[in-house]
Symmetry: C2
Subunit: 278 residues, 2 copies
């Protein structure tokens, strides 16, 4: 582990899991956790996810080699403002947010030139929330997207990639724009659609729901605050993804015509083949 | 087991599982399987799902107390025509189709008055297909909807309900109309949406897909022929369900406006609460 002093801002499912994973692979370092609920911070210490805690973000980052923003996407701007002056020169800041354009922009605007920011999106988690669900192997085998820009320090980028790799992740570089556009299609849109599928149901229909419905809508149980932030922050991509989904629904509806049975089969078969390759 | 002589028309995942379940609870009876592929029929005998087989549906139903149609929905009309004259007086016919209006109508048109039809939809299965995936406990704990009409024989209805109960299912009565409308919302629409979500993806985006996408689109890997039949047969319901889904997508899009953050949260929270109660 390259980083001796780690600061985790927000010790929920992701932040807590990072703490537990680091504890497993590193020795001699220290992990400081920040949060605004002391009960959460106490749980995080009890579970071994962090060594000590503070309810001041500025205090949490003092002297840190690596700071990981693990609070909801909507808090990143004010959090970066709060920590900007307390970061030591050479400190590296990254995050676990599900959108990347905004946090990269905020970091480039708000952090001093002596501090290096690298946007990250470790694609792990669940519809559960809270440090009680944190586990050291949450990231194992999953993908972490890092989103460097022309202004990203290459050394800091390599160190952040190495950090995620040490937690068991594969890493992939994408621009913040490409990240937000592509992740919208495979994550933000599925969430929006799952929530819409739930929202439209009558109690009468829900009583009949089976395993297919449960699978298709599982993500809709996720934390509303987190998802409000994500969908709001990535609103233009969400609109574009919904528009492209609507085109497929149009295609399907056209093929419901009795004369289009073969075309309906072909469309379903193509989707089944594509899904089976996943 | 009330029925001594059982005829399973179509020995795939569902038909095979019925055979295995019956074998487990009944003794002294005989199960005859019909299919058009001898290799499937041989597998079904080898796996113990049926006692003997034939590639003639008319032959398969001769002398049967209970006939269960387990072929795709789109084949029911011709299958009923094929067996109508070979059924013994007093025989009971049911099915496992995912749509109910059409099969009930075909049965009432095509079967002689001496034969009793009761529509059934045992809500079990998976995206897998084939008798190799059949298992005796597939139906255990699941819901079976039966769809009597004014013309349904009450004694036959009770016997069919009892048959599914013996296989471990809860049963519920719905009219064919209500069945097709409600099941569309919780099953046919989720399939249509999952397939649309897969169809719209670029390879670039699919490379980044995680567990949420996998869950949301799992059903899209299902058999295209089966689903073509279902969606085609229930086209009016599918159109109505899609229209109501589009209204929720409109709602969501409205709430992507930065000024609507609270309304977006409320909408997501309501969906999360509703889903969590499932």
């Amino acid at each position: 582990m390259e980083f001796k002093r780690l600061s985790i801002l927000g010790v929920g499912l992701l932040g807590g899991s990072i703490g537990l994973a680091v504890k497993k692979i590193a020795s001699g370092g220290e992990t400081v956790g920040y949060g605004h609920r002391t009960s959460t911070l106490e749980s995080a210490i009890r579970l071994g996810a962090i060594d000590r805690s503070t309810t001041s973000a500025a205090e949490a980052v003092g002297g840190a080699d690596l700071v990981v923003l693990c609070t909801p996407v909507g808090t990143f701007r004010s959090l970066l403002q709060e920590i900007a002056k307390s970061l030591r020169p050479g400190a590296i800041v990254t995050d676990v947010g599900s959108t990347k354009r905004s946090v990269v922009r905020f970091a480039e605007e708000l952090l001093p030139g002596s501090v290096h920011f690298v946007g990250s999106h470790p694609m792990a988690g669940s519809e559960k929330r809270g440090v009680e669900f944190a586990k050291a192997d949450l990231f194992n085998g999953a993908l972490c997207i890092v989103t460097p820009t022309a202004r990203t320090n290459p050394g800091a980028l390599a160190k952040v990639e190495n950090f995620w790799a040490e937690l068991g992740m594969r890493t992939k570089r994408l621009s913040p724009d490409d990240h937000d556009r592509l992740i919208c299609d495979v994550s933000h849109l599925p969430h929006a659609v799952a929530a819409s599928l739930v929202a439209m149901q009558s109690d009468e229909a829900l009583e009949l729901a089976g395993k297919g419905f449960q699978d298709t809508t599982r993500v809709a149980a996720g934390d509303a605050g987190l998802w409000r932030d994500i969908l709001k922050d990535n609103a233009d991509s969400v609109r574009s993804s919904i528009a492209r989904l609507r085109i497929q629904l149009d295609e399907l509806e056209k093929r419901l015509d009795p004369k289009q049975a073969q075309a309906l089969f072909d469309w379903l078969q193509a989707a089944a083949d594509k899904r089976s390759r996943q």
